[in-house]
Symmetry: D3
Subunit: 238 residues, 6 copies
């Protein structure tokens, strides 16, 4: 039995609140159960130096965790004077995933920065960040369309992300913290709304996993992502 | 006329939400109008090295601003690799103010860290941090009392903070961003519930201020702090 | 009785030595008793990027303490790889105070940097820095006038700074180290030569202070600053 | 046709030179075609603080690239003052993969650090690092066994890693640089000698990939890893 | 008796392998006995800002040591976040020495960066770096000549470097590690092929040295450098 | 003709002021003409970790330059977040030179830190630092003797340092800034009072130097150091 009686394939209750803060062009609070991430999208009508003059845009992302988003307090990275490897790895993953959703040519010479700050952590913060970050990105693009800076919507397809894993020999979807820390294998999957893969990152934490287990996890991920895309669509339809 | 029709002495609507997140021993979302700060209090049952073996406790604080809490995005301090002067100055102010509320001897060899993270900024983030941080601190102390680690409540008096300023020659209480950026003088005041002063920091941004203006600002601050302490008491009574 | 038999209102012997070093456009050794700070003013005929093309100038400041300016050696900040919060806070205070003395429009597109390096510390290093820094600034402006880069003197009014505090229930002016470390309240005040306030920063170190105590400290500060401005005038007249 | 006429499933010529340098307990130069990585294993007979007293060991890894291992010179990370996200991400991957090969309990309170420094880069530096790093690790463990510090060999299974990708719609094994930069999808796979998975990291660089493409890439990876494990065994048998 | 039966004046076997790696314009593995340093020269057809528009070029150098080039592992400087004093001192020495070999005017607005990375250390890494770095520099200059970017060879004279020292009261040339750590005095000498001095850096590690000892060391250095220049010439003739 | 009519062998007027500041165990202002360096010696009755329990002491040094000690302002290293290579190189030189003057065994488990801060620079700041630093060190050792912490004076011999160089083909002693910037060769020499060498660092800035020029420079250095040791003795005799 999973905590809260979820079935193995069932994602946690998902809430996507748009316009959560005032200033950002896109601002979304995404909740996967007790995991809460604030995703803001900031538009800058220019591109980084390495893209100057190529007529295409850029999407980047930064991930952070408030010091007490977790069970015990983590030292603030700004105070330590550097971002840890985990933070940079997740920032790079979010950015790659969101860039894969957009035709950068069609974005024109604009940069959109997605900031994902974890308010409360209970497993799956990176997948929540990607899922909520996509909605914030969509809002920022709408902002550019509404003000006439873009004629065509550069989004190629919706994307969402979910974690899956093997716990006690059983594949589960959308691991919460107690499951995640007991998992033999942990996998994060980013897919398009039609089920094609953007990122697959599977790690054997405790025991190597078999081909069959991989397939089982991918099937759960596909189903979970279908639910998450539905939640994104509902939020964007409001 | 002030935005939203406030009188010069009137503070913005104040909301203090306790237990805003799950993990921290104290967790408060404080709102002064559109300014929103998440204040968490984390308890560690030990003290920093410089206090070891003296039988007294410590209270410290860190302030941060999410990159898009403001009108335009600020570079993330963790990515820059250092905290700016403004951040450190405010962190030190919050810590000093909260330490002044507590008998460190009576706190025993415990450390409480108050993290104040600005979710949305509209002026007065440091005064909201102190006001909300005090409630988070009170909850963390209650946690220590409830688990039997403290016999006596070490809080000496409640404290709260408000900004006051001179705008167009007129003294105003609890400046919001548009007022703050037009102010000739800007002053932050921390007081105890009985109106004694903990910190007074007045700065002539545009024009030096007179003794009379100082007195006028202090009177407004006292009234504003009375309102804020009332809000703190109501929140703590829930 | 104060050390050296000073009356409560009396500042320490003040010495202001201009042209203390060779290379800087303004170079002042300021001594408040045993506190000795070297203040240099460096002129650059350009402005920082954020002011480019606005036809106005800039004044900035940096504060530092030699490792053995104090009773025990402090680790060198350059070796630690970052400036501490206290250093940045004082640098910001000095810069704000000196900017308030100058009409930045009238300064034209010039930048003046005031470096305040504490050679020997005995309390009041920040107020000595502001008081001596003003004289170095005045010399740097004279340099610009003499070489024809400025037609009009952009100084609006002289400024000086002094610390005041409550020690053993008694208000004292210009605290030296032994007084400062015993003070219940410590306040730094920057004023113009005509007694208007530029900065007031009062901190309850041990006990909150009352309105009456604040007024008493401000009166002492005003008298002390009168003496300091007289010393500045005498130095500038040489 | 691939460069050098390789078949899609064919890995580049692999060379594994043990005892490449004098001082390290394990020292391996691994070459995948023109990619050359020096992997050293350093033994320390103690564990990091977080493991003290638990009777188990630790394996960690650091990855670096010499400034001119690549077509154009990269700024030295030591000179920049920080390791980039890519460097940290690869270091973490290597460490996780090698830890998965070892029973940390059986390793006792010893730490082995694997340094992987890229002398020359032509694609696949992280997979070469893992493959060569495993051999260096095995030698370091032999060193501990030979000196009597370990009674039982703590290696659970051999591991190796290879990259696979989709280039021009075709799945290829062990991408070299020109293939890697033209790939639509790029995947790194770490497996045990018996084909169970340790890590799977697939990224859609240009176009999302289908379930079928994933399976095709995994099949190529399995075959490639068989060849790499054979090369490891041959090297270790010398 | 010296290790390996060398005479006091005898340098270790020297090997200079050109074109050691693929990408750099000059790439040399230099070996002084067991000391092995990879020296690469990277050409950039521009100059640093401080030289812009002066029609002359620049030569710079960076030195690094792989973490396990030494008997015990050194922490990676990129991970520490700063280069140590020894590293910076050696980088500056190499750069100064190589600049002294070249007419920077005749180099035109080109920059050549010499990276010297120690693969294995056994004493004399800085002198090996200079000796091998000169050959890499010569190859990079040949590259510029061959592509027509330079008409005239800007090299003024060949240079090489050797260490000498006083061990047990006896002057020795080209100290290896066991000698170096027992030396009373250690001196590094850089000379031109005709025996004029570029750098002389002598340090009394254990005991001050006399004028006579200095002369004796210089004589050994001159002889050693003759041998090294011969090895450079042989390598460049291949 | 040299500036101020000095003969080639003549050092600038040297002033050594002991007890220049209050708090340090040794505090010396050393002036070589217009070069002014404050050297303080700080005693700590313990040793760094790597020397614990060996019954010997340690001497270390740090060098810094005030931002406006020079013709144009240098950025403060504390603000840059790191010490430059030149700073670290000079710090290491001063420390090595002063350690060579002392029997560390006889110093017992004490650490003396020499801080050399350049107030005004006009060439020769490192040699002034060593010469003045030695006097500060001697005073700190006297402090330890006077308080009974040392029975025997651990100083083995006095040391001093001077720069020499070749300017317009002529050897000169104690170069001031205008000479130094025109020098073909620049050499810093540290010697004991009896003329044995501690450090010799000669650099061909513009042209290689011959054996004869080296000898000529060493002879000038010896004479200059005789004068400096006389000045040290006179100062210590006061």
């Amino acid at each position: 039995m999973r905590p809260n009686g979820r079935t193995p394939a069932q994602v946690r209750p998902v809430t996507i609140t748009r316009n959560y803060t005032l200033h950002a062009e896109g601002s979304v609070l995404v909740e996967f159960g007790n995991t809460k991430v604030l995703c803001t999208a900031s538009v800058e009508e220019s591109v980084p130096r390495f893209l100057k003059g190529q007529g295409k845009g850029w999407i980047t992302a930064e991930y952070g965790m408030l010091p007490r988003a977790t069970h015990t307090r983590n030292q603030r990275e700004a105070a330590k004077g550097k971002q840890g490897g985990r933070t940079l790895e997740i920032s790079r993953l979010i950015a790659r995933a969101l860039r894969a959703a957009v035709d950068l040519k069609a974005l024109g010479e604009n940069t959109i920065t997605i900031d994902c700050d974890v308010i409360q952590a209970d497993g799956g913060t990176r997948t929540a960040s990607i899922t909520g970050g996509f909605v914030a990105l969509a809002d920022a693009i709408n902002y550019l369309i509404n003000k006439g800076a873009l004629k065509v919507n550069p989004i190629k397809h919706m994307i969402a992300a979910v974690s899956v894993g093997i716990v006690d020999g059983k594949a589960l979807c959308d691991l919460e913290y107690v499951e995640d820390s007991a998992a033999d294998t942990d996998m994060n999957v980013v897919m398009t709304e039609c089920g094609k893969m953007i990122e697959v990152q599977g790690t054997a934490e405790e025991a190597p996993f078999s081909h069959e287990e991989l397939l089982e996890m991918l099937a759960l991920a596909k189903a979970g992502i279908d639910d998450l895309v539905a939640a994104q669509k509902a939020a964007l339809a409001e």
